[in-house]
């Protein structure tokens, strides 16, 4: 007993922090697009960082709880409701057996995470519970959730776990109203015309409708290469901004192919991938240049915050 899907939503998948160690065999990492929202959700519930949760996209699912469970909804505000009443995000909430979790209008961001105390009963495939839809691997039967799917909880809720009248500081999570994404220079930066490099940091880029978990296609003035030469394929990663011959940049996202042959003009700082993952079709973004040390320091600061948060939360579950 656990949950039952009543409406599937736009794209609802099981994700953890990703499938590592097999990229050399062409296996995508996948995992949560906004891994920080997932981390925070799991932290709120006292779960392991890597516990699998449900990633909802723009239009969330409707989920029937066959059994009570403590959950936390994080990431985008897709107007979550329980039995029609607004459900507060960023805190543990007890959902009673027989209740219906649903979503409404997307208010900010486009990916919400439903985390469950103790996690969901999803088999580990190649070391991860993440769904890689294209390869039909992992998650729930290798595919997005559909109506009638029933997923069990790992641990039934015990009433001793009590209610939790606290929530985490919203300042821990990026401000989704900004469209500024920090990037480091890409390995093939030198192959671009200097005008292209200027426009890259000056122009506004619109995320195309033709964007998904594999990659975001960007629309703007095309970025010109000095010469159109074919590159030998090499590894690419989440946040690599590659430019095909037509000059329209593509940012690789969680389900990215492991290798690519287009020049990479920039690489999104890991700390800004959650913000980027919350940007949806038709939204505008701009790039700001930072260096490797700055990017790694931002990541370290975020980690320190997270450790402090977890210490504070651990006390709540004692």
């Amino acid at each position: 007993m656990g949950i039952k899907i009543i409406k599937s939503g736009m794209l609802t998948t099981i994700q953890d922090l990703g499938r590592y160690g097999l990229q050399r065999y062409g296996m995508a990492v996948s995992g949560a697009m906004d891994s920080y929202a997932l981390l925070l959700g799991n932290s709120i519930l006292g779960n392991a960082d890597n516990e699998a949760a449900i990633e909802c996209t723009i239009i969330g699912p409707t989920i029937y709880f066959e059994q009570a469970q403590l959950i936390a909804v994080t990431g985008a505000d897709l107007s979550p409701k329980v039995d029609g009443q607004p459900l507060p995000m960023w805190k543990p909430v007890l959902i009673e057996a027989g209740s219906l979790l649903s979503f409404g209008r997307p208010n900010s961001g486009c990916r919400a995470y439903i985390c469950f105390r103790g996690g969901l009963d999803i088999p580990e495939i190649l070391g991860s519970r993440s769904t890689y839809s294209k390869g039909q691997i992992g998650g729930w039967q290798g595919r997005p959730l559909k109506v009638q799917d029933r997923i069990a909880f790992n641990h039934p809720y015990e009433s001793g776990e009590a209610q939790f009248f606290w929530s985490i500081d919203p300042a821990l999570y990026p401000d989704l109203s900004t469209g500024v994404i920090r990037v480091m220079d890409g390995p093939q930066r030198d192959q671009f015309e200097s005008d292209a490099l200027k426009s890259f940091f000056a122009d506004v880029f619109t995320i195309s409708k033709n964007s998904d978990r594999m990659g975001y296609r960007l629309q703007s003035k095309p970025l010109q290469l000095k010469e159109k030469k074919e590159l030998l394929s090499t590894a690419v990663t989440f946040g690599s901004i590659q430019v095909p011959p037509d000059g329209n940049a593509i940012i690789l996202m969680a389900d990215h192919p492991t290798t690519g042959g287009y020049p990479v003009i920039g690489q999104v700082a890991t700390v800004d991938l959650p913000l980027l993952a919350q940007k949806g079709p038709e939204e505008n973004i701009r790039f700001e240049r930072i260096n490797l040390d700055e990017a790694q320091n931002l990541l370290k600061q975020r980690q320190i915050q997270l450790i402090k948060l977890k210490r504070a939360i651990a006390l709540k579950y004692e």
Binding site: Y20, G21, L22, Q23, R24, Y25, G26, M27, A28, I125, L126, K134, G135, Q136, I137, M184, G186, P187, L232, S233, T234, A235, V236, T237, G239, S240, P257, T258, T259, V264, Q267, V268, A269, T270, L292, A295, Q296, L299, K300, Q303
Partner: protein, 241 residues
């Protein structure tokens, strides 16, 4: 210049390996700008060292034609520390026979929709295309794009054919294709622009196997022509139904 052994050691001295960051969690080691058997052999030798590397903070590595990308956790190890540690392990590179790769046969039923086109494009008969394609030993230079997709080196230029102008929306799993000077096998159904000349009954990526990927970087691959009946029989065995 000394023995072949010393020469190979000379090539892998850290000074000759370029390195640059790819974002805040990856370092790229580059062994050259153009593809050659020698450069890819260097890649494979260094991979063999990295394979058994117990350096904390290393997440995984991805060998490609001329590069190895190492993913690391910047909260555990810095770029510079990783580089220093790497310099120590590359000293241990030797000419072990395991770098020569394992020979693997891939049976192919040459029935692809583009076989006629590939023949016409190159002024050959279909039989000649099959003969030329199944003659060489190909080297697995890298695996990427989708799970188990091998990038093979060593195709005869007489059958090189440009990609389709409009990619197919769906290429079946097991399809054997040609794109320019490259040949490869699609492990899973996916859109693609390669010219399809045949199909293998083997699963290149199978979760039920202990090692899901049939091929490893460095393996030597031979395509063996089979009949329709053999294809059906092998496919039944391979897919288990």
């Amino acid at each position: 210049m000394g023995s072949p052994h010393e020469q190979s050691l000379g090539i892998v001295l850290p000074d000759s390996i370029r390195h640059y960051p790819m974002g805040d969690q990856a370092i790229v080691l580059s062994f050259g700008d153009s593809l050659s058997e020698a450069v890819n052999t260097q890649v494979r030798k260094v991979v063999a060292c990295i394979e058994n590397w117990s350096q904390p903070g290393i997440i995984e590595y991805v060998p490609a034609y001329t590069t190895i990308t190492i993913y690391y956790d910047p909260l555990t190890i810095t770029y510079q520390e990783l580089l220093t540690a790497f310099q120590t392990i590359v000293q241990d590179i030797s000419d072990d026979p395991k770098y020569k790769g394992v020979k693997k046969e891939i049976p192919v039923y040459y029935n692809g929709d583009d076989l006629v086109y590939v023949a016409q494009y190159n002024g050959l008969t279909e039989e000649e295309v099959v003969h030329i394609h199944s003659a060489p030993e190909y080297r697995v230079y890298m695996i990427g794009f989708v799970p188990g997709f091998p990038y093979l080196g060593g195709m005869d230029s007489r059958i090189a054919t440009a990609r389709k102008e409009v990619p197919r929306l769906k290429i079946e799993a097991g399809a054997v294709g040609i794109a320019g000077q490259q040949t490869g096998v699609y492990p899973i159904a996916t859109p693609g622009g390669w010219q399809i000349i045949g199909h293998t009954p083997l699963q290149l990526f199978d979760l039920k196997r202990e090692k899901p990927s049939l091929l490893e970087v460095g393996d030597l691959v031979c395509f063996v022509p089979i009949t329709y009946d053999e294809f059906v029989k092998l496919k039944t065995e391979s897919y288990g139904h």
